[in-house]
Amino acid sequence: MSEQEAEQSPVAKKIEDVGRTTLIGVSEIGYCASLIWESLYWAFMGKSMGQPVRLQSVFAQMMETGIRAIPIVAMLAVTVGMMLAIQGIYTMRIFGAESHVTIGIAFSVVREFAPLITGILVAGRSGSALAARIGIMNINQEVDALSVMGINPVRFLVAPALLAMVIMVPCLTFFSDVIGLLGAGIYVSLDLGVSLAAYWDQVFEWLRVDDVMHGLGKSVLFAILIAVIGVANGAGVRGGAEGVGKVTTRAVVQSISAIVLTDMLFAFMVTR
């Protein structure tokens, strides 16, 4: 470094820092993209390379990501459904139109709240676990051990987790749709005195397959984001147990931010 460079102005240093941070950000996005590509490569080409993605590993991950999350997803979905019904009836009552509250609830739950709540929950539950697992394996040289045993770490660790998420997050979202609508229906029938059957009739009258697919489509994107962000953070761990704690927190924060941002962009591009 020349003397002139060493005596940079604070503004130039700031610009350099911003540039450096941007470069790191871009390289992280590139790494995430390469993880998706590599996972797909091993999922489809693994068998011909003598390294198939094991269905047993995918099922184990599906169990962990999906089945074990059912109770907490159900609890949150029913709560959010009821909350939407309470707020919806309160708002519509101002216009004396509370009998039309079902339309708002149905669209809100299926298009927005079910995928969002499920995505956030899976990010906190499975995304963090994935980051911690990969991080600890990295520190203990377990990832190196896989490589030297001739086992591709992306094929062995990342592809099963990604496939499991892409399958289970939409399933959980659909489950969340049903339970959320049911929770809202229970409150609506109690408050407005309409039967549950009449409530479901109204829901099915207004909801179309497109609305359900809108939510499920988003949930697939959320699943990919949660998996690659978790893995990318775990792979970049530095500094022992403290480092694992940091990347786990970072993975959750980044996943939730990415989910909310993607949700807005998706809604903007598809709904308009």
Partner: protein, 279 residues
């Protein structure tokens, strides 16, 4: 079995051939033109002080890192020329016992040992069980297959790692600091195991260590590294008797007085040297 003579060793074919290997971490040069070879059935010990580059060299020998320049041949194949499939095929012929074992904590010892078989062969479960037990017998851990790695002591963990490393009957075996953190008796047992593996299975073995007793006990030849350079490659006897001051200081644990460079000292204090290292 007695150690082969130097002439006998050098007459054997090379299983590892490194030519002018240069590597960097960021802008820092770690290995500065390393050239060495390992012969068939040889136990080569790589030694050196902290920061000498021995762990980096080992990672390159295991083909886990890419070199800046230079060539490296493993079992006759140039690493740089290999495609993905060939690289993985080559790696099946090498085994590595990592410093901390690197056993998968979510699996039992038996499952850890069977993992390479499960991934690379079509053997049935019963045959894999028998093979895993055979390797556990070799490392004196028979009956421990159902325990998890967290239930093993340091020495047992390292031996279990050796069992996993030899499950595919590799031609080439790497050990990273096998004696580190072990008491002298357990360390000696591990040395015996390394010698036994070479004698019984004819493997070529590369050991990175800073334990002098262990190195002189097992090595056919020793590569002495210092600040990314090779100081000497020779038999333990010749190394002991050489007149290189640096090597004698390392072997006899003598502290070298470094001449103080006032300019360098000032640069370290002001942090100027770090600015130079920034990518």
């Amino acid at each position: 079995m007695t150690k082969p003579t130097e002439a006998e060793l050098l007459a054997r074919p090379k299983v590892i051939e490194v030519e002018d290997l240069v590597t960097h971490y960021g802008e820092r040069m770690i290995l500065k033109g390393i050239s060495m070879d390992v012969r068939e059935g040889e136990i080569m010990v790589i030694m050196g002080g902290s920061g000498s580059g021995k762990s980096t060299l080992l990672r390159h020998l295991m083909s886990l890192e890419h070199a800046t320049s230079g060539t490296m041949k493993l079992l006759g194949k140039n690493i740089a020329d290999l495609g993905l499939k060939d690289t993985y095929a080559l790696r099946r012929k090498i085994g590595v016992a990592f410093q901390g074992g690197a056993l998968f904590s979510s699996m039992t010892v038996g499952e850890n040992i069977k993992l390479p078989l499960r991934e690379h062969t079509d053997l049935d479960e019963f045959t894999m069980d028998i093979m895993a037990r055979m390797k556990l017998e070799v490392v004196d851990l028979a009956g421990f297959e159902d325990l998890t790695p967290s239930e093993l002591s340091g020495g047992m963990l390292k031996r279990a790692a050796v069992a996993r490393a030899i499950i595919m009957d590799p031609k080439l075996l790497f050990f990273d600091e096998p004696s580190a953190g072990l008491d002298p008796v357990v360390a000696a047992q591990l040395d015996e195991l390394i010698l036994r593996l070479r004698d019984a299975m004819g493997m070529s073995i590369v050991v990175v260590t800073h334990e002098l007793d262990s190195a002189f006990r097992i090595a056919d030849r020793i590569t002495m590294l210092d600040h990314g350079h090779i100081l000497m490659i020779d038999t333990p006897e010749k190394m002991k008797n050489c007149d290189n001051t640096r090597i004698q200081n390392l072997l006899n644990r003598r502290i070298e007085e470094e001449e103080l460079d006032p300019d360098a000292y000032l640069r370290r204090l002001t942090g100027e040297d770090r600015q130079h290292e920034r990518p």
